[in-house]
Amino acid sequence: MTEPFQPGLITSGSSAGRAARGSARAIRHGCIWLVLILLIGHTVVREVGSVDARGGWEAAGRALPHALPRALLGAAIQVTGGFMIALLVHRIAPRAGLWVVLTLVLVAVYPMVTHGYVRSVAWIPFTLLLSFAALDAIPAALHDAAAVDRAQGWFKFRTITLPLVLPLLLAGALFRAVDAYRPPHARSFVAAYVLLILATLAGSALARGRR
C-alpha cells in the first residue's frame, strides 16, 4: 500500500514525533480493518437474521456476494470518475478550479438526486471535490522538482501524482462504500451509524497520514 501524503514541509521528527506517527499508523490500520470486518460481518449477521423470515442459509449465501461487491464497485466508479474529472479540471484551470468544481457540483447534483436511477453517479461531484482538493494539496515545489527531473505525462502521473493523492482517494472510496452499503431497514440503523463513524475515523487517519 502506498504511503500517505503529508502536505507541507517535510522535516525531521523527534523521537516523540516518531512515536506519534507510529500510533497514527496503528489507528489507521485498526480503523480500516475494523470497517472491512464489520462490513462483511454485518452482511453475514443481517442475512442470518433474516433466516427466520425468509428461511434458509441460501439467502445469506446469495446476498453476501452481491451486496458488498455492489457497494465496493459503486465506490470505485464514483471515485475514479470524480478523480478523472478533477484531473481534467485541475489541468485546464488549476486556479479557477475550485469555482469550476462548485459550479459543476450545483449543476450535477440537483437533477441527479431527483432522478433516482443514477443514484450512484450522483455522488461523483463529492468524489470530484475530494480529488480536486487532493490534487490541489500537492505542493507546487514538487511539480517544480518533477519538471527539472524530467518527469512528465504518464510517468509523472504514475510515480508522483497518483501516489500522493491515493490515500485521500482511498479514504473517499471507503466512505462511499460504507454509505452505499447502508441497509434499508431501520433496525440496522445503529450498525450503519457505527460503520459510518468508523469509516470517518479511518478516512481522516488515512488523509492525515503520518504526522
Binding site: 519538471a147 524530467r150 512528465q152 510517468f155 500522493l164
Partner: protein, 364 residues
C-alpha cells in the same frame, strides 16, 4: 552558424512579479564546464535567475539560450537542466534511493545502470545508513544532501544548486564545499550555484557573479573580486576579512581622510568622483599594519581577539587591522598604524562605484 561558446546565456532578461521587479535587465554567460556562484543577499534575485534558467519561470522579457539554442519558451522537462531546490522538495512517498533514482527512471535508463549510479551518489553524499528511509525520517542536512544528489544523479546539460550549503554547519559545510568542488572536477558539468555566503562562493566557484536587486554588480574570479571590488556593495559583501571604510575628500591628487586628517597621495587619472568631497577609502585588515615605523596615524585598540584581526579606532572611525604575531594588545592601547598603498581601494561615495586610482607612495 556560430560556434557554440556559451552553454547558458541570458540576454536582457527581466522578470516582474506585478509591480515588483525581481530581475532588472540582466546578462549572464556561462561557458561549458564552468562553475559559477551567484552571490548576493536574500531577495537579490538569485533563485529567480536559477528558475528562469531551469524553465520554471518565464522571463517578462529577454531570451535564454542553452548551447546556442533559444529555449525561452521551452518547458522545463525538455530543457535538460537539473536543479536542487532550497526547500528541498523531496518526494515524500519515496525512499532516499527512489528519490535519487527518479530522474534517471524518467529517462528510461536501464535498471542496473540506475542502481549503480544511485549507489555512487549515495556513497559520495554519505547517505548509506538512510538509503531506505523516507524523507520524513531524515535530518535537515540529510534532506539537503538527497536534494543535491537528485540534481547530479543524471547527466544533465547543466546543474543548478539553489543555496546548497545553507543548512550545513561547521565541519559538514566545509566537507560539502569540498564535495561540490570535487564533484564538479569529476563530472565537469556546467554548474550554477547560488549563495548568500561569500566564503561558499570563494571556496567553490571558478567565477563569482555578485547580484543585488536583480542586477549583476560584478562578475569575475574570486581573487579579482576580492582584490578589486567594483563598488561599495561588493566591497562590503565579499570577504571573510571585511573591508574597513574611511570617508575622505579629494583635491589635486591628494586624498585626505576625514577622521584623522591623514593625507594620501593618489594617481587620480582615469576617473573623477561626482563630488570631490565625498570619496571612500576601503581597506582590508591585512593591509592595515600595526607598525612603529609607519607613524602618521595612531589608533586606539578597541578589541583584540585571537583570530588575527584587531579592532581599532582611528579618530572616531572603526578600522580593522591584522595583529602582530607574538604581541598581545590591550584594549585602550594607542598604536601607530600603516596603510599598505597596494591594499587601498578608492570609491566614489556618491555613486558607490570604484575609482580606478592607484595610491602613490608605499607608506602613507
Amino acid at each position: 552558424m556560430n560556434p557554440i561558446e556559451h552553454r547558458i546565456e541570458l540576454r536582457d532578461v527581466t522578470k516582474r512579479f506585478g509591480d515588483f521587479t525581481a530581475i532588472a535587465p540582466l546578462d549572464l554567460q556561462v561557458i561549458q564546464g564552468e562553475f559559477i556562484a551567484l552571490l548576493g543577499p536574500a531577495g537579490a534575485g538569485k533563485t529567480t535567475i536559477l528558475r528562469i534558467i531551469a524553465g520554471l519561470e518565464k522571463p517578462t522579457s529577454g531570451t535564454i539560450h542553452l548551447d546556442g539554442f533559444d529555449v525561452t519558451s521551452m518547458p522545463a522537462p525538455r530543457r535538460d537542466v537539473a536543479m536542487a531546490f532550497e526547500s528541498p522538495a523531496l518526494y515524500p512517498h519515496l525512499t532516499v534511493e527512489r528519490n535519487l533514482a527518479l530522474p534517471m527512471r524518467a529517462q528510461h535508463i536501464p535498471r542496473n545502470a540506475i542502481e549503480r549510479r544511485v549507489s555512487e551518489v549515495i556513497d559520495r553524499l554519505r547517505l548509506g545508513p538512510v538509503r531506505r528511509r523516507k524523507p520524513w525520517r531524515l535530518s535537515t542536512s540529510e534532506c539537503r544532501r538527497v536534494s543535491l544528489g537528485r540534481a547530479m544523479v543524471r547527466d544533465a546539460k547543466c546543474v543548478l544548486f539553489d543555496e546548497p550549503l545553507v543548512h550545513f554547519d561547521g565541519e559538514e559545510r566545509e566537507h560539502m564545499r569540498r564535495e561540490l568542488r570535487a564533484i564538479h572536477a569529476e563530472l565537469r558539468a556546467t554548474t550554477v550555484l547560488s549563495t548568500r555566503d561569500p566564503l561558499d562562493a570563494i571556496s567553490t566557484a571558478d567565477r563569482i557573479v555578485v547580484v543585488n536587486q536583480g542586477r549583476v554588480l560584478q562578475s569575475d574570479t574570486p581573487q579579482a573580486i576580492y582584490d578589486r571590488p567594483a563598488d561599495l556593495f561588493v566591497a562590503r559583501y565579499l570577504g571573510a576579512q571585511a573591508m574597513s571604510f574611511l570617508s575622505a575628500s579629494h583635491a589635486d591628487g591628494i586624498a585626505r581622510l576625514t577622521c584623522c586628517n591623514l593625507a594620501i597621495p593618489v594617481d587620480d587619472r582615469g576617473a573623477q568622483p561626482v563630488d570631490a568631497a565625498r570619496i571612500t577609502l576601503g581597506i582590508r585588515p591585512e593591509h592595515v599594519r600595526i607598525d612603529p615605523r609607519g607613524v602618521p596615524a595612531t589608533a586606539v585598540v578597541t578589541n583584540s581577539t585571537p583570530n588575527g584581526v584587531v579592532d581599532l579606532r582611528l579618530g572616531d572611525v572603526p578600522i580593522r587591522a591584522s595583529a602582530q604575531p607574538g604581541r598581545q594588545l590591550q584594549n585602550g592601547e594607542i598604536v601607530p598604524i600603516r596603510l599598505d598603498s597596494a591594499g587601498c581601494r578608492w570609491f566614489d561615495a556618491t555613486s558607490g562605484k570604484a575609482l580606478p586610482w592607484r595610491t602613490r607612495t608605499e607608506s602613507t
